[in-house]
């Protein structure tokens, strides 16, 4: 042991891992995947050798079990497995928890169950049931670890455990069968009991991948637009090629199934899987898988059709009045099919108006499945596909889910049954063999078909939805249609004795076993402590009778009437004695089968004698031979015979009486039990109704509370609204100018008091009136209509305009109107706000001011002219004299006069421009000529170099020569004045498209950003640090910009502090 641990260091880490438990990426604790290794009985040594690589893969729990009749010696399997793997190996015991990286050898009869987060072993039944035990364990594993288990099978044993495998696959498990053959010819794809058939090495690799993948617990990569498209493609393909419409079925289940197929193939993306689907085999496999998994409360339309047209009419034709229609659904799983059929049949019976009842026996190997079905509670998704009418009619909703109605539930009997092992039903009219017949090898199919043949009445039907199924047993069934396949039972000539083929061995050893057991073993019954028959051996048929109404495995209900009493007594005796008891000379006198038998009851040791073996031996001629040696007289003998006959008759009568009494008692007990169950069910229903009422009551209460709260909220809101409405109105009302609020249809929503008093209206008059009719149609003016249209079509954000209106006694008034848009809000339509102002006086004042300045500046010019002339004359006169002082003063005087006259001129210009009095000439001009003139004119006044850059010839423009020259002079003299430090001023004429331009650039102090914004404003003067600032009144640039504007051009300025400024004029080409 020490060496083992030392040499396989890595494995120690795996052990550690198991102690740490396994967690998914999001921290959620996950049960490790469960890997079941199923080995054929007696082949442990061979099997473990090919499973050896698997038993080294970390991260999973390993269960090893044997099929077949319990031939193995427990310790032997344990020893073999221990030699195969380095993982710890233990034998499962009651209550033991399953741990990762641990191998458990499972004795027969063990199952698993979930206890919180852990999974525990549980001793379930006697250790002699062989194959059934493996089925049971596999079913239990599948149920406790759905999607997280893998089943590995020895070669050729899939059929022995097909019941368990069916549940494994329906719970999302993976089934991998071993083969030693590299060239394996698969059976029909999708119908195979195993997902994959692999060699030893392939198997290990696949298991490693699956364990990894399951351990990661990743989300399905099946969300998003791309996945949707790919899924839609898959559905389309299945619809087109296989006639199956899955698009409207339960999506999560479909995704789960596709995911399972993807994992089987080891692909991670839907796209990759879609490529795999190009193979027909995979397409069939997927569609089969989806069909099997998507059980619901509906029958296939073709099935309904077949039942209505082919099956039910014939059944009714041959029906024995007063007996129920008996239908058997083996492998019914969740009960959907059974209930759906019950609904269908009950509706059919109602339509046909027949006096008829139906009984549906739904059996499954999985006990849990049967129990679930019996409870009959389903969730919403189970019911998808069911019409609303049927949902309402046949289901009752409760907090637990949807309950199937009692009437339907009572039509169905759910039982646990292994189709291969347990006795079948008899006198059945119809068998729905969907799941039961799927995925079987020919031999198993054969076996089941024989069982079905046995179970059916002479006129009985078997239905399968597998269109390609071949019975292979033409003497048993006659096919009457396909899709779904419907078979009618054939009466067999010379039928064999075996009433159901439970032990037809497939080969060698098993065949021998079966042969011996069937042919040479005396008729034997194995019964458990409840006297239920566990197993039959030999030709038992002559000693049994069959119940007509329900499945009953009770010994005393199964055996022929004559044996009931005897067996009861023998059982009692054997219990008391604790050893084998025998009763000889039991006479059976039923027609041709009349015979004498002895019955032996032996308590079986392994179960403390609770289980018993009942062996029946036939006695041939023993009594007679004993009698021949007697020498007594014939008379005595005759008397004895008579006596015996009389006694026998008496005993027979008593026996009949007893049997009848016993049957009565049983019947009464059963009736009581049924009544009790009904009461319990009613009670439960009442309780759930009560609970529902309580919860409704609580809901109502909470609704009430909620409503109160909402109500309070609303009244608070209401108050708030009133306050804010009042507030808004008082804001509008308090404005000292007329204000109108208009709706988008230009009707007045609100007019303030000032408006009303200004236009002589009342608030009520204006309310709702059109703007164009209010105040005697004062506002019905084209310019206003145009402006409002612009506002409503959102071409303008706000509009200012002036209207001259005639207001009776007050005469003509000038109104300035500002229209602004009120945005659309949650509660308000969009609207407009008109704010009015009477600017008559202001306009008059402005006009007066302009006139005043005009006259003033005009009148100033005349004296200025004489002063200038005088000063120039004075300068002239003093020039060349010695009176330098006077000459200097005269020059200064001249300069100041020039400044004064320029100022006057500017003021006059401004007045004329702003009152629109300027007459601009429109003459053809060469801008270059003007530029040259202006530069020449100013160059003589300054030492700064004025440079005209190289330029192309400019096209002519149209404009006022004098005025444009004035602009150029203004810009150049500004540059000289404001940038005295610049070494040169660059004049750059240019042309672009249909415009000519000239840029005048200086390298002076530049203009601040703030000043740039206002530089073209009237009376704006540049300020800077120097004392007194710049001379001038701030009109030059205003006048220039106005002149350029009148010419349809543009004037712009760019400036950077301490780098200089560029003024650019652009004018349109003529």
């Amino acid at each position: 042991m020490q060496g083992k641990n030392f040499t396989h260091e890595p494995f120690a880490n795996h052990l550690l891992l198991s102690k740490l438990n396994i967690h998914s990426s999001n921290g959620e604790s996950l049960a490790p995947p469960i890997v079941c290794l199923v080995i054929r009985a007696g082949e442990a040594a061979a099997a473990t050798s090919f499973f050896r690589p698997v038993l080294g893969i970390p991260g999973a729990v390993y269960l090893v079990m044997e099929t077949g009749i319990a031939l193995h010696k427990g310790p032997e399997l344990l020893r073999v497995v221990e030699q195969t793997t380095l993982m710890p190996v233990v034998t499962a015991e009651q209550g033991m928890a399953l741990d990762a990286n641990q191998v458990y050898v499972i004795p027969h009869g063990f199952s698993v169950s979930r206890a919180g987060e852990r999974v525990l072993f549980r001793a379930e039944m006697a250790p002699s049931r062989g194959d059934g035990a493996v089925d049971l364990l596999l079913a239990a594993v599948a149920t406790v670890a759905p999607d997280r288990h893998i089943v590995l099978l020895s070669q050729g044993i899939t059929d022995q455990v097909s019941g368990g495998l069916r549940i494994v696959r329906s719970e999302g498990g993976f089934v991998i069968a071993y083969t030693d053959d590299d060239i394996f010819l698969p059976l029909r794809p999708g119908l195979m009991p195993a997902d994959l058939v692999l060699t030893s090495a392939e198997m290990a690799a696949k298991v490693r991948l699956l364990v990894d993948e399951i351990g990661k617990n990743q989300k399905l990569p099946m969300e998003g637009a791309q996945a949707e498209t790919e899924l839609a493609q898959i559905y389309m393909q299945l619809l087109r090629n296989r006639g199956m419409d899955f698009a409207r079925r339960r999506q999560p289940e479909i995704l789960r199934r596709i995911r399972r197929r993807m994992m089987i193939h080891g692909v991670n993306t839907l796209a990759a899987y879609t490529r795999l689907l190009e193979e027909e085999a995979e397409e069939i496999a997927l569609s089969e898988e989806l069909r099997i998994s998507l059980t619901g409360f509906f029958l296939d339309a073709t099935l309904e059709h077949a039942l209505l047209n082919e099956v039910l009419p014939r059944l009714l034709e041959n029906h024995i009045p007063g007996t129920p229609l008996r239908i058997w659904i083996p492998c019914c799983c969740g009960g959907h099919e059974a209930y759906a059929l019950a609904i269908f049949i009950s509706e059919y019976i109602r339509e046909q108006k027949k006096e008829l009842t139906a009984q549906i026996f739904a059996t499954d190997v999985n006990k849990a499945a049967s129990e679930r079905s019996r409870i009959g509670i389903y969730d919403q998704t189970d019911l998808s596909g069911l019409s609303t009418r049927k949902r309402k009619q046949y289901f009752t909703k409760s907090p637990a889910g949807y309950h199937i109605n009692r009437q339907i539930r009572e039509m169905c009997v759910f039982a646990t049954q292994n189709l291969f092992k347990d006795p079948p039903f008899s006198n059945v009219d119809l068998i729905l063999g969907f799941s039961a017949l799927r995925g079987l090898h020919a031999e198993s199919l054969d076996k089941i078909m024989r069982t079905f043949h046995y179970a059916l009445r002479p006129v009985g039907f078997l239905v399968s939805d597998d269109p390609e199924i071949k019975t292979g047993l033409a003497e048993l069934f006659q096919r009457i249609r396909t899709n779904p396949s419907v078979f009618m039972r054939r009466e067999r000539v010379g039928s064999t004795a075996g009433f159901y083929p439970m032990t037809i061995a497939r080969m060698g050893e098993r065949e021998a076993d079966a042969l011996l057991l069937n042919e040479y073993v005396p008729p034997t019954l194995l019964v458990d402590d409840q006297l239920r028959v566990v197993r039959f051996y030999g030709i038992i048929e002559p000693y049994l009778r069959f119940s007509q109404d329900r499945l009953n495995l009770h010994l005393l209900r199964m055996v022929r009437d004559e044996l009931v009493f005897e067996l009861e007594e023998l059982m009692e005796r054997s219990k008391e004695a604790g050893s084998t008891v025998v009763k000889n000379g039991i006479h059976l006198n039923t027609g041709a089968n009349a015979r004498d038998i002895s019955v032996e009851v032996t308590p079986l040791r392994p179960n403390g004698g609770k289980w018993k073996l009942v062996i029946i031996r036939e006695i041939t001629g023993g009594v007679e031979s004993r009698g021949t040696g007697d020498k007594n007289s014939g008379r005595t003998l005759a008397q004895k015979d008579e006596r015996i006959q009389a006694l026998e008759k008496e005993v027979g009568e008593l026996r009949t009486l007893l049997a009848a009494a016993g049957e009565d008692a049983t019947r009464i007990q059963e009736a009581l039990q049924v009544a009790n169950e009904e009461i319990m069910a009613s009670n439960e229903e009442l309780q759930s109704v009560n609970e529902q009422l309580q919860s409704v009551n609580q809901q109502l209460l909470s609704f009430n509370v909620e409503l109160n709260t909402v109500n309070e909220d609303l009244s608070v809101r209401n108050q708030e609204l009133e306050v804010s409405a009042e507030y808004a109105q008082s804001v509008v009302g308090s404005l000292r100018r007329p204000v109108l609020v208009l709706q988008d249809d230009l009707r007045i929503k609100l007019a303030n008091e000032i408006f009303c008093s200004f236009f002589g209206a009342t608030v009520d008059d204006t309310q709702g009136q059109s703007l164009y009719t209010v105040a005697n149609g004062l506002f019905d003016r084209d310019e206003l209509r145009k402006a409002l249209r612009q506002m409503l079509t959102k071409k303008a954000v706000s509009v200012d305009l002036e209207l001259r209106v005639e207001l009776g006694e007050r005469g003509e008034r000038v109104l300035a109107i500002t229209v602004s848009r009120m945005p659309k809000t949650k509660n308000n339509r969009p609207g407009l706000v008109l704010s009015l102002e009477d600017i008559t006086e202001r306009r008059a004042a402005e006009r007066f001011k302009d006139e005043f300045i005009g006259i003033a500046s005009h009148e100033l010019k005349t004296p200025a002219t004489s002063i200038q002339a005088y000063s120039q004359l004075l300068t002239e006169g003093l020039t060349g004299t010695r009176d330098l002082h006077s000459a200097e003063l005269a020059t200064k005087l001249s300069n100041q006069v020039v400044r004064l006259t320029r100022l006057t001129k500017d003021l006059l210009d401004v007045t004329r421009i702003s009152s629109g009095q300027v007459d601009f000439k429109k003459e053809k001009l060469d801008l270059l000529e003007l530029i040259n003139e202006a530069v020449e004119e100013l160059q003589v006044t300054t030492a700064i170099r004025l440079v005209i850059t190289e330029h192309p010839l400019l096209p002519h423009i149209k404009g006022d020569r004098e005025r444009l020259r004035q602009v150029l002079v203004n810009l150049l003299s500004n540059a000289i004045k404001y940038a005295p430090e610049t070494p040169e001023i660059i004049v750059r004429p240019g042309i672009s498209e249909d415009k000519v331009s000239v840029a005048i650039q200086d390298f002076g102090a530049g203009i601040s950003t703030e000043s740039l914004r206002k530089i073209f404003d009237r009376y704006y003067r540049l300020e800077d640090g120097r004392a007194g600032g710049y001379p001038g009144v701030g009109l030059g640039l205003y006048i220039s910009s106005e002149i350029i504007r009148y010419h349809g051009g543009e004037i712009k300025v760019n400036s950077e502090k301490n780098k200089g400024s560029i003024f650019t004029i652009t004018l349109p080409v003529d």
Partner: protein, 120 residues
């Protein structure tokens, strides 16, 4: 010896004119009203200056009248005004030039010299 006449209602302008053209080449006569000119009492000069804004009348009208008279139509007339548009208005009225107030004396002397040379 050229004879110049100026009609202006502002005495300071009249005075300044006399001073500007106080030259042996010129004889300057100044009038406050245009009557003397129109009635030819003042005779026919070589050059006439008329202020546009005369009291009671428009200098341009005076100019037009003079230009209609066969006796004075060849005499060059220069209009003086405070209006910046005087150049155009003067030419429309038939004057040789319009001079905007204020003006530089150098410019005025040159204008007179040039005009007289042209109409010699």
């Amino acid at each position: 010896m050229k004879r110049l006449i100026l009609v202006d209602d502002d005495p300071a302008i009249l005075d300044v004119f006399e001073l500007i053209f106080k030259d042996p080449d010129y004889i300057v006569s100044v009038y406050r009203e245009p009557d003397a000119l129109l009635s030819l009492k003042a005779g026919i000069p070589d050059l006439i200056f008329i202020d546009k804004q005369l009291s009671g009348t428009d200098g341009l009208d005076v100019c037009r009248k003079l230009k209609k008279s066969s006796l004075t139509k060849r005499v060059p007339i220069i209009i003086i005004s405070a209006s910046p548009d005087i150049q155009r208005l003067a030419k429309e009225a038939g004057a040789v030039a319009g001079v905007e107030k204020p003006f530089s004396i150098k410019y005025l002397r040159q204008l007179v010299k040039d005009t007289l040379a042209e109409h010699a």
